[in-house]
């Protein structure tokens, strides 16, 4: 990237995300295309470790977090920290993958089978668990023979036949599809949209601390607008941008084949959400209520809003 972003006097906004995580792509795009400057700031991508991410964000080492989600924000608030989600982010880019030639047609077929995942407290596993519970009445924690490894090793585990299915996020799930070869047995975004009548949960959202918001009201709007604009650029161009640098190397994919598959996947899903209305937020809250109801990760929904529309928030 060209860091010689000229215009002096513009505030730098540190936007944290995981290294190589497609979720952070819009931040790159806005920086590369100068959308950030047009909205009065300079976006800086701050790579953080998944384990350290929330803490890094909360202690103020970054301004905006791109990898937060509703459940996480509920936990954050429950622990007494003040932060909110204020913009849409990536759609639910996760899935259950099984070998292409296997006989499994539906998640209930996996009952009693070995299934790989990377942690019962992970967003991926807990989301899938909740959805399967709601849609199929299936309790994966007791009915599947769950095997835990790091997310990176799951495709290998599937390929070697050590497990019958895996829960993983993108582009790792996709890698499993390509290499095993495999197919998606369950795609949460699509399945939930079908189940709930249109709305599907986000994988991530933009988050900011409330003290930061209070001091940077104008900036917050700018960031949100730049973010939406960048998503539009990406999706409007059918993600063709991803074939170019620096995006291509940012994604650290194994091969061009994987890249093409990922682009196709993004067009199909699509990868980013663009709608952020009162109704969306209500749906999110309902969805979180289900988590609390099932006691997955959280016991109760947050009494304060986890997601806000900036106009209402400041208005």
């Amino acid at each position: 990237g060209d860091d010689e972003a000229t215009d002096d006097g513009l505030p730098t906004v540190k936007m944290q995300g995981f290294p190589a995580d497609p979720v952070g792509l819009p931040a790159l795009v806005m920086h590369e295309l100068g959308i950030d400057v047009a909205h009065g700031f300079i976006a800086e991508y701050l790579p953080v470790d998944p384990d350290a991410a929330t803490n890094t964000f909360l202690i103020g080492e970054s301004d905006i977090a791109m990898e937060q989600d509703g459940v996480n924000m509920t936990i954050v608030q429950a622990e007494g920290h003040r932060a909110v989600l204020f913009a849409p982010g990536a759609n639910m880019m996760t899935g259950i993958v099984v070998p292409a030639d296997s006989s499994y047609q539906d998640p209930t077929d996996l009952i009693g089978q070995k299934v790989g995942h990377f942690g019962v407290d992970s967003g991926t596993t807990s989301t899938i668990a909740l959805m399967l519970k709601e849609i199929y009445g299936l309790d994966v924690f007791t009915e599947y023979d769950l095997r835990e490894v790091g997310p990176e090793a799951l495709p290998e585990l599937l390929k070697s036949g050590e497990v019958e299915a895996i829960f993983d996020f993108e582009p790792l799930a996709l890698r499993a599809v390509l290499e095993t070869p495999g197919r998606y047995l369950f795609e949460p975004a699509k399945a939930w949209a079908e189940f709930s009548g249109g709305w599907s949960p986000w994988l991530t959202n933009l988050a900011a601390r409330e003290d930061w918001l209070a001091e940077n009201e104008e900036l917050a709007f700018g960031i949100r607008d730049a973010w939406m604009e960048a998503i539009d650029v990406l999706q409007g161009g059918d993600f063709a941008l991803l074939r170019e640098e620096p995006y291509k190397s940012f994604l650290e994919l194994k091969s061009d084949e994987e890249l093409e598959a990922f682009i196709q996947y993004c067009i199909d899903l699509p990868c980013f959400g663009t709608s952020w209305t009162q109704a969306d937020i209500a749906a999110l809250n309902d969805y979180l209520a289900l988590f609390a109801e099932n006691g997955i990760l959280i016991d109760a929904v947050s009494p304060t809003p986890v997601a806000v529309i900036l106009e209402d928030y400041f208005g």
Partner: protein, 269 residues
């Protein structure tokens, strides 16, 4: 002294011995490579040796790896130095006993059990994302092990030499320099060997939490994406650094400092 025939004979024997050592060492180093070879044939995730070797030239000539390598070496070496000093001080106080000895003993016992994740998290809280945090995590995690090893060394010291020091009224610095430290040399080497390696393992985590730079972080990133060839390349760099330190630095200096020890019969056995 003139060189007698047996001198050359002996030299020959020694040379032969060191060649044999070298050959055995190479064989030993070959074992992991052999395992790798088997792995690449029996599993799908271990890349063929050839593929990784072919990737080496590009990897090492691309200049973007060297800053990361150097900065991490600096962090490891620096933290280890701090850990050695802290560890020695702790061992010394523990050995002297008394109230402070016990107090320090408590702390060392506690610190031995601190999981690296907790140390890294606390460092993040206190030092935020900064270089200091990395040093803090690595040295705080490794120093209790140094202390433990050196303490045992101090305990096994020869009391009779201490008495000699009393009689001849050696000053404290003289005692440290001539009695305590030389005695601790073998223990220090064991501690350095282990904690140097330990530091390399901890630095990965510390870099991830605190700075997201350095070869630890880069290795972890490659491994997280399961880009195995890259991960392998970093691993090879790790190993070369550790092997280099062992064979070029630790082993020769250990031999040198412990020259007094041998019975003088090594060449004859």
């Amino acid at each position: 002294m003139t060189r007698s025939p047996e001198t050359t004979q002996n030299l020959g024997a020694r040379l032969r011995a060191s060649w044999l050592d070298l050959a055995l060492g190479a064989l030993g180093a070959g074992l992991p490579v052999f395992l790798w070879w088997i792995g690449s044939h029996t599993t799908t995730f271990v890349p063929p040796i050839g593929e990784v070797i072919r990737a080496i030239p590009d990897f090492v000539t691309g200049e973007d790896i060297w800053p990361d390598v150097l900065v991490t070496i600096e962090r490891v070496a620096g933290s280890l130095a701090i850990a050695l000093i802290l560890g020695f001080a702790a061992a010394y106080v523990m050995h002297r006993g008394g109230l402070w000895g016990r107090v320090v003993d408590r702390y060392v016992g506690l610190m031995l059990g601190v999981p690296s994740t907790i140390a890294a998290l606390l460092a993040l809280y206190v030092f935020k994302r900064s270089e200091v945090g990395v040093y803090f995590v690595v040295s705080i995690i490794t120093f209790p092990f140094v202390a433990l090893t050196l303490l045992q060394g101090l305990r096994s010291a020869d009391r009779r030499l201490d008495e000699m020091g009393d009689v001849y009224r050696l000053s404290t610095p003289q005692r440290l320099r001539h009695v305590a430290v030389p005695h601790l040399v073998p223990y220090t080497f064991a501690a350095v060997r282990n904690e140097y390696a330990h530091a390399w393992k901890v630095v990965v985590l510390a870099e991830l939490f605190a700075v997201n730079s350095g070869m630890g972080a880069r290795f972890a990133r490659a491994f997280d994406r399961f880009r195995i060839v890259d991960a392998m390349l970093w691993l090879i760099i790790f190993m070369i650094i550790l092997l280099g330190t062992e064979y070029l630095l630790l082993l020769p200096s250990e031999r040198r400092v412990l020259r007094w020890r041998g019975s003088g019969m090594e060449g004859n056995r």
